[in-house]
Amino acid sequence: MLFVEAQFTEMAPRVYRFLLRLCGDPDRASDLAQEALARGWGRRQQLSDVGALPTWLFRIAFRTWQDACRKHEHDRTTPLGTEVCGSTPAPVDISIGNELGQIMWQKLGELPERQRQVLHLRVIEQMEIQEIAEVVGTNSQNVRSNLAAARKKLRQSLSPASSKKHES
């Protein structure tokens, strides 16, 4: 039990990071991460293989975000300007970290939703193709094609910026 609890504690920042990537709002991501981890903690008895905990928790986080999106669609009480499920997330705080990392984080947020999800899980969380497919609910081929498209768009969007940087 303590091992599982330690795994949850270790996974918490990663779950938050993924949800921050999905929704773009730090406060909203924190709430969703709490909800997702609480869901996972309540269902931890269903987890037969502790080694599959990361994929399992990311899948719960993804569904928690999807549920929040559906609720947001039905319940329009959220004030205007607080985007929860927009295709282009609100800019997050990029004042910390290296310059290239800030640029890449910003550009990653401008990608289409599915490409953003798979590239985040692939590059930042370093997950396998099949694991990503399980998290976002698709197949491996779809993940590969989205990854290739995401990399291509990133190269295209970064080319002017990198060229300007080299020119200056």
Binding site: P13, S30, L37, D93, M104, W105, I124, S159
Partner: protein, 196 residues
């Protein structure tokens, strides 16, 4: 980061950790400077993005904050419900016992004082009460004094009266003897009046 005419490096990028690189691909990358440059760029921005994302993480989670309510709601709720049922059962049992003891107390009065009933149903007792106005008897009727006619009663009746007197003397220390007498006297009066 411009598009490279040679895109074989992309197959190497999206390869899983446990996925072995095909020999022909590894040979090509070892010889192709363009693919090596692209792989180096990819590795650079991926590392920068990963470092930046890790620096953004300011989120802590404690299982106690989530686990405690879950445990309490699933484990202690039945005990709470059981406790409520137990308290209700105890209250109910106490009420039943109280009612039962009250009934037993009521029944004990006539059975204990049955000699008095026999004593007050005798003709001597009836002679001291006005049979025409049984309802006008006050709550504290005067205890009839023994008269000469009572002394001439049959032996059995005399024996009963003497028994009643004996009981009265014996139970005089009990404060409820008088009350018992008051409760039972009109009933015997009614019975005697109907007999007449």
């Amino acid at each position: 980061m411009s598009d490279s005419p040679c895109d074989k490096w992309q197959a190497a990028v999206d390869r899983d950790r446990n996925e072995a690189m095909p020999p022909e691909l590894s040979e090509h990358i070892a010889e192709c400077a363009e693919c090596q440059a692209m792989l180096a760029i990819e590795t650079e921005w991926e590392t920068a993005l990963r470092d930046h994302a890790e620096s953004l993480t300011e989120f802590a989670w404690n299982a106690d904050s989530v686990g405690a309510p879950v445990v309490s709601s699933t484990v202690s709720s039945p005990s709470i419900r059981g406790g409520r049922w137990l308290a209700l059962a105890i209250t109910l049992a106490a009420t039943v016992l109280a009612i039962a003891s009250l009934n037993w107390g009521i029944e004990a009065v006539p059975s204990r004082e049955s000699p008095l009933i026999a004593a007050r149903s005798d003709p001597g007792g009836v002679a001291t009460v006005d049979a025409d106005e049984p309802e006008k008897q006050p709550a504290e009727p005067a205890i009839p004094e023994p008269t000469e006619s009572e002394t001439r009663r049959p032996p059995t009746l005399v024996h009963t009266v003497s028994s009643a007197s004996h009981l009265s003397v014996a139970d005089s220390s009990r404060p409820d003897d008088g009350l018992t007498f008051i409760m039972l006297y009109p009933r015997s009066t009614k019975a005697d009046a109907s007999n007449e």
